[in-house]
């Protein structure tokens, strides 16, 4: 909120600059500057509490997630001694005896602490199948006594499992032991690093690139469906008499304000095997066997189209409302056929609303979680669901964070595009 004094002062000082004549005395100019600064400070002071709050509640968590994507201290914390000794290994053949002995001692300790499973899981990410090898070795070494281990640790380790003689095992240990790693990001891009340090396409499983493609494809299909369904409706509402359009607008706004879970529940009730749609179609004898519609990509796309459709209709409607009806009439009275007139006159005028709606729907659907999780089954899962899977089930937080970072970069790029073409501050509600 600005104040009269400042207003007068700033007008005066700008006049001052224009004319180059001293209207204000030095004293007055200093006063005006101080006032201006005071107002800046007041405005800023009002914003600071929220900035502090958002930094703690929102920005810091996001930064923590970015950090988690390349920080993995688990193995380094579990077997520090072994890793230190392993540093001098050249990567060929079996490492030094001291390394093997140290590993045997570490494994015994981990087995006693019941943390050998953690180590096994981490190493397994770099060498599939290593998990059971590590666990069984730890079990066998648990009963050996310390003096024996210090003396013949290497031999006991090799006796427990001959994989410990394999260079690949130790390469995996070394990789897992890095505190700062680009491994999660590489995995998230279906890449891996060879022991020599070259980046190559991951040999084992390539799923993530496919997952991004699929997520983007589904988001695109949903956006197109929203466009195809939303455009005619918005056009109809914008051109209908205001009494009709106000009443019909309720049909758009009610779904918009209805809980996401409610709308997802509705689609489960409609699409499940014994659901409303199947019963209806069977009653009409269109089908004799119920269709499997729920828990597929199809149901995810339908439900998400339904959920996101208002985001397309509302910006389109508000833009179309502002287009003068006489434009189309003029074009047609000059002899243009309806379709060319529409394409050349009406459609270009609706582009701001169209791009706003389409980008919004696309941005929201790329990062969607709940609906695919509930109605998606196995083939309707999107990138968010895989992030949740790594957070909650496989407990691979580093990979979850790396995948999250990729998604964040994607979204921010789209948001930047949105801001450029539509303007983020033009977001309107209802």
């Amino acid at each position: 909120m600005s104040n009269t004094t400042t207003n007068v002062a700033s007008t005066a000082s700008s006049d001052n600059n224009k004319r180059g004549a001293a209207i204000l005395t030095k004293e007055e100019a200093r006063f005006a500057r101080r006032e201006l600064r005071r107002h800046k400070m007041t405005a800023f002071a009002l914003v600071v509490p929220l900035l502090v709050f958002i930094s703690f509640a929102f920005v810091a968590p996001i930064l923590t997630m970015l950090h988690q994507g390349y920080y993995s201290p688990v193995v380094a914390d579990l077997i520090p001694q072994t890793l230190e000794k392993l540093e001098s290994w050249d990567g060929q053949g079996q490492p030094d005896k001291r390394v093997l002995t140290s590993m045997a001692i570490d494994l015994k300790r981990l087995a006693a602490d019941r943390t050998s499973g953690k180590l096994a899981a981490e190493i397994n990410r770099h060498k599939p199948g290593a998990s059971s090898m590590v666990k069984s070795t730890a079990r066998k070494l648990r009963r050996k006594d310390d003096a024996d281990l210090a003396q013949n640790g290497a031999a006991l380790l090799l006796a427990a499992n001959k994989s410990w003689a394999d260079a690949k095992t130790w390469q995996a240990v070394q990789k897992a032991g890095k505190i700062y790693t680009d491994g999660f990001y590489l995995t998230a891009l279906d890449l891996e690093r060879t022991f020599e340090g070259e980046i190559q396409i991951r040999e084992a499983t390539q799923i993530y690139i496919q997952l991004y493609t699929k997520t983007l494809r589904m988001a695109l299909v949903i956006t197109l469906m929203c466009l195809v369904l939303g455009y005619p409706l918005a056009y109809f509402l914008a051109n209908a008499p205001s009494k009709t359009s106000n009443m019909l607008m309720i049909f758009v706004l009610l779904p918009f304000w209805t809980s996401l879970l409610v709308r997802t529940t509705a689609w489960i009730a409609l699409l499940q095997t014994n659901g409303v749609v199947n019963s209806f179609l069977m009653e009409l004898h269109v089908i004799s066997e119920p269709l499997d519609m729920l828990y597929t990509e199809f149901s995810t796309i339908i439900a998400m189209t339904h959920i996101l459709l208002p985001f397309m209709i509302l910006p389109l409607y508000s833009v179309m409302k502002g287009i003068d009806k006489s434009y189309m009439r003029a074009a047609m009275s000059m002899g243009a056929k309806p379709i060319p007139a529409f394409l050349k006159v009406y459609l270009p005028n609706t582009l701001p609303g169209l791009s706003a709606g389409a980008l919004l729907v696309f941005i929201i659907s790329v990062g969607y979680y709940i609906t695919p999780a509930l109605v998606g089954g196995t083939d309707g899962q999107m990138i968010s669901n895989i992030i949740a899977f790594h957070m909650q089930q496989s407990n691979n937080w580093g990979l979850a964070a790396a995948l999250g970072t990729m998604l964040l970069i994607l979204i921010l790029t789209l948001y930047w595009v949105y801001d450029r073409f539509v303007g983020a501050s033009n977001i309107k509600l209802g």
């Binding site: 909120m1 104040n3 009269t4 400042t6 007041t42 405005a43 800023f44 914003v47 509490p49 929220l50 900035l51 958002i54 509640a57 929102f58 810091a60 968590p61 996001i62 997630m65 005619p232 409706l233 056009y235 109809f236 209908a240 008499p241 309720i250 049909f251 758009v252 009610l254 779904p255 209805t258 809980s259 879970l261 409610v262 709308r263 529940t265 509705a266 489960i268 009730a269 014994n274 659901g275 409303v276 019963s279 339904h306 459709l309 208002p310 047609m332 309806p338 941005i363 990062g367 969607y368 709940i370 992030i387 957070m391 909650q392 937080w397 964070a401 999250g404 998604l407 501050s425 509600l429």
Partner: protein, 286 residues
């Protein structure tokens, strides 16, 4: 559409116009029917998600209130309802207070870095919830906030902030500054002018911002999934696990109640919009 066709309309024009009308109504049908269907289904006497023979022929015995009874007799649902209101209430207070203050500051012409700060404050609305949830899980765990009411309230308040900023900024942008200066010229202090002149005028914006913040929290489930302990389950969280584990019409009854809540919400919002337009008087372009 209801007006008679202009004389230069050919048969094709008319056919096109009817086709448009048909398409529009088909889309409206697609939008509203899934939500309407839930309501009668929630009175099903059988534990199914579909219409039974009796329901179609309107036999009274095919309908019952048993799923509504199931809500009020189930301590989990009651706890969830209580939690939703507690978390929603406090998150709204935090978001509205901080958000309104910031919006007032941001609408000042003297505010430095306005665009950057605005983009930052609006970003919780754009970043996918799963990313926010993962980040908050990592970060809040360090402070012991995971699995507490405090953690969820902070998290939900952060999500509500953009809505408060948007609605209050919108009201302030239509605000006639000369009213504020009039107050000052009459000798009132800036603070008194703010509370006596500005606040009553931006109140509709603040209230609708608060309502958006509340609904955001009330409807939010992803952050709850990651941050809440068993004691903080909210209504959407309870519905989420209900839909995953044991689907029964209790969820439909809850859904019906939630639809009623959104109808009430929609009516209030419309009322506020009209009031705001009336208060701002002749400025309104429509």
């Amino acid at each position: 559409m209801s007006q008679p066709f202009p004389s230069y309309y050919t048969l094709w024009h008319k056919a096109g116009s009817y086709a448009l009308k048909f398409t529009a109504f088909a889309v409206l049908f697609f939008l509203i029917v899934p939500i309407i269907v839930i309501i009668p289904l929630s009175f099903n006497a059988e534990p199914y998600f579909t219409f039974t023979k009796g329901m179609v022929t309107f036999e009274p015995s095919a309908y019952s209130m048993r799923w509504y009874d199931a809500i009020v007799t189930n301590p989990n649902w009651l706890l969830a309802i209580k939690n939703s209101f507690i978390i929603g209430f406090f998150a709204t207070i935090v978001a509205t207070t901080l958000g309104t203050m910031a919006a007032v500051g941001l609408s000042s012409q003297r505010m430095p870095y306005k665009r950057l700060i605005m983009a930052l404050l609006l970003s919780p609305m754009i970043v996918p919830l799963i990313i926010i949830a993962a980040g908050m899980f990592f970060f809040y765990s360090k402070f012991g906030f995971a699995g507490t009411y405090t953690g969820l309230i902070i998290a939900h308040a952060a999500l509500g902030v953009p809505f408060v900023i948007i609605t209050v900024t919108a009201t302030l942008s239509g605000f006639d500054r000369s009213l504020y200066f009039a107050g000052l010229s009459m000798g009132a202090s800036p603070l008194k002018t703010f509370f006596d002149v500005v606040v009553p005028l931006i109140r509709p914006g603040v209230i609708s911002g608060a309502m958006f913040a509340f609904v955001t929290s009330f409807d939010e489930v992803v952050l709850v999934l990651f941050l809440a302990g068993p004691g903080q389950r909210t209504i959407p969280r309870q519905m989420f696990s209900g839909l995953r584990e044991q689907i029964n019409p209790t969820i439909l009854a809850v859904a019906t109640l939630l639809i009623m809540v959104s109808v009430a919400f929609l009516i209030t919002l419309e009322f506020l919009r009209r009031r705001s337009e009336r208060l701002r008087g002749l400025e309104s372009p429509h």
